[in-house]
Amino acid sequence: MPNDTSSGGDVATADVTPLVQLVSPTGERVVEPDNARYRSRADHLTSEDLRAMYRDMVLTRRFDDEATALQRQGELALYAQGRGQEAAQVGSAFALAPQDYVFPSYREHGVLHVRGVDPVDRLRLFRGVDHGGWDPAEHNVHLYTLVIGSHVLHGTGYAMGIQRDGLVGTGDATRDAAVVTYFGDGATSQGDVSEALVFAAVNNAPVVFFCQNNQWAISEPTSRQARVPIYRRGEGFGIPSVRVDGNDVLACYAVTAEAIERAHNGGGPTFVEAYTYRMGAHTTSDDPSRYRDRAEEEYWRLRDPIDRLAALLRSEGAWDEAWATSLDAEADAYGENLRAAVRELGAPPVESMFDHVYGGPHAQVEAERAWLREYELQTSQEAGR
């Protein structure tokens, strides 16, 4: 990226700050002494593993495109695109054990895909039929949180609970557990994120702070959030911190795997900055043409994380045309099923607005529920007269 401080995230520091990278933008393995410890973490991945990652990234991109189209057709109230962040999300999620717990923001569609959260359930919130949409316990994935940064504290508290449960440093990799919280560059300005870093540091909590620096917080570049590269925020709190190429799925996997292992073993928190780019708009209500250049978008379009993994697969002879064709067909069917299922999602019963406000009865809620029921009955009777 040219040193143009008028646009694009923290361009002033982007070129001088080392990124952990295992695959170059043109799809070649990067072999340097500096990345040896991360290379060793990705060595065991087979061609089949890489194709599985590729498939997840392609289906995540398809999910994004379908959801965007559904919003344009009036089927969703809003949608927050994840385009461009598939490597950061899929790579990091691949490093998690089933017992690990995810606290996402609201753009982690790729993470949820890998964890197995039903794609239809992921759109209930955006369709306006549910504030959540899935059972967090089913895949150890908390609900999306819209208030920026709030959930980073929840993840930290959850990790403190894991510590109290004695599930850190047991020596049993199938029992040791950790939390990964996902948030963006904008969220790092929130007090809650700094407080989470304080609580995690002093408690040595098993939590990975996974910051996707996609360089834009709606219209504000990262230079409006920080004067230093974001990963150095973690260092200030005494937390091991690393900056990774967020468009390199293998590097994101390896860096997260190291952080998870540290958490599992009782080594405490890690701060990861995945340097990536929000290729789409903030949400379907946003218009990036008002605040960023075409040239910048084009620069990053040529660094698409999916293309990079495809290039790696091709260069290593792991690309199979028949497989690629069947993946295309799978993505088409996936999209078709998603469209049909989302259109079927109807509004919940009116009275459900009173459900689960409290765990036990609450006089005011019950009185208002009864009042609305009576009112609706009367108005329907009057209409029927």
Partner: protein, 339 residues
């Protein structure tokens, strides 16, 4: 977290305790019966809290269960929510009323809504203890009554005990409740004493109701927390003049026990609501509206309110002119009787 709940001590014993000590004993009882209960707050461990409410508990239950937290209220609440999601029952202490606001976002946007937005799949039984109210000669931000700000948010329970016995019973009930509970402690009454029966059953449903603190027939005084004592003193003075006042101790602002208030006002025909929080849009405004709706034909006078003024809490040297005094309650009763 798999919590181990042990049977509560079945032996009852009665002791004379201060209000503050009654809370301590309630916390101790909750820590003893449920391994998932934990206390979090600033200076609550080695120091025992600035009001010593948690005195001795860290020594008895350890640093993992009675936690001295970093000085960050939003962090306390946010991590408590995470711990609750993992199966714990955190009881957070906010050092003073005026310091709850950094946590206001976590309490109102996250804690209150977690059950609702998950359609009942998630439960966050967090208790937030807040010493509140004035009359102790404190400096700025140490004497406020922000309860209405929380009662206005669906999903929260907001309670305030007025006696040592209720302080003990209600903290145990709040901790056992499946819902988030804001537990407002009238700090001006911390040193008042009363007989407390320790060891009885935990009555979660008992959190929802008001109680008649004194029976009477001419006027109903509605109060909660620190102003119950004020209302009782006013009732004594009224009795000397031949007026019989009934005092209703609300105990809970959300839910609001409307039937108990309405039953009283239907008999007395007059109602005065007393609280330290500003009258403007306070809990008393809700009581007045409900009473007007449900007792319209029984009312002999408009419902009157005695509360704080719509100014920031004043300097300590003026607080006794700001707080609802016995004289101001009597003045309101006179006006109600004059209709």
């Amino acid at each position: 977290m798999t919590t181990t709940t042990k049977p509560a001590a079945s032996t009852l014993k009665t002791e004379t305790l201060t209000f503050a000590r009654a809370i301590t004993e309630g916390l101790r009882a909750a820590l003893e019966v449920d391994d998932g209960v934990m206390l979090m707050g600033e200076d609550i461990g080695r120091l025992g809290g600035v009001f010593r409410v948690t005195d001795g508990l860290q020594k008895d239950f350890g640093e993992d269960r009675v936690v001295d937290t970093p000085l960050a209220e939003s962090g306390i609440l946010g991590t408590a929510i995470g711990l609750a999601l993992r199966g714990y029952r955190p009881v957070c202490e906010i050092q003073f009323d005026g310091f709850v606001f950094p946590a206001y976002d976590q309490i109102t946007t996250q804690l209150a809504k977690m059950r609702y937005r998950s359609r009942g799949r998630l439960e966050v039984p967090v208790v937030v203890r807040i010493p509140y109210g004035g009359g102790i000669g404190a400096i700025e931000h140490h004497s406020e009554s922000p309860e209405a700000l929380f009662a206005h948010t669906a999903g929260l329970r907001v309670v305030s005990p007025s006696t040592p016995q209720d302080a003990y019973d209600m903290i145990r009930a709040a901790i056992a409740s499946p819902d988030p509970v804001l537990y407002f402690e009238p700090k001006g009454r911390y040193w008042s004493k009363g007989e407390v029966t320790l060891g009885g059953p935990v009555d979660v449903a008992g959190l929802d109701g008001a109680r008649v603190a004194r029976a009477g027939g001419d006027v109903t005084l509605v109060a909660y927390g620190p102003t119950v004592a004020t209302a009782l003193q006013a009732a004594d003075a009224l009795a000397a003049e031949g007026t019989s006042a009934e005092v209703v101790d609300l105990r809970t602002i959300s839910p609001l026990d409307v039937p108990t208030v309405v039953a009283s006002v239907r008999r007395t025909g007059r109602c005065v609501v007393v609280h330290e929080a500003p009258s403007f849009l306070g809990a008393g405004a809700e009581v007045a509206a409900r009473v007007t709706e449900e007792c319209f034909h029984s009312l002999e006078a408009p419902v009157l309110r005695v509360g704080g003024f719509h100014s920031p809490y004043p300097v300590a040297k003026l607080e006794h002119d700001y707080l609802p005094s016995v004289d101001r309650v009597l003045d309101a009763v006179d006006r109600a009787l004059a209709f």
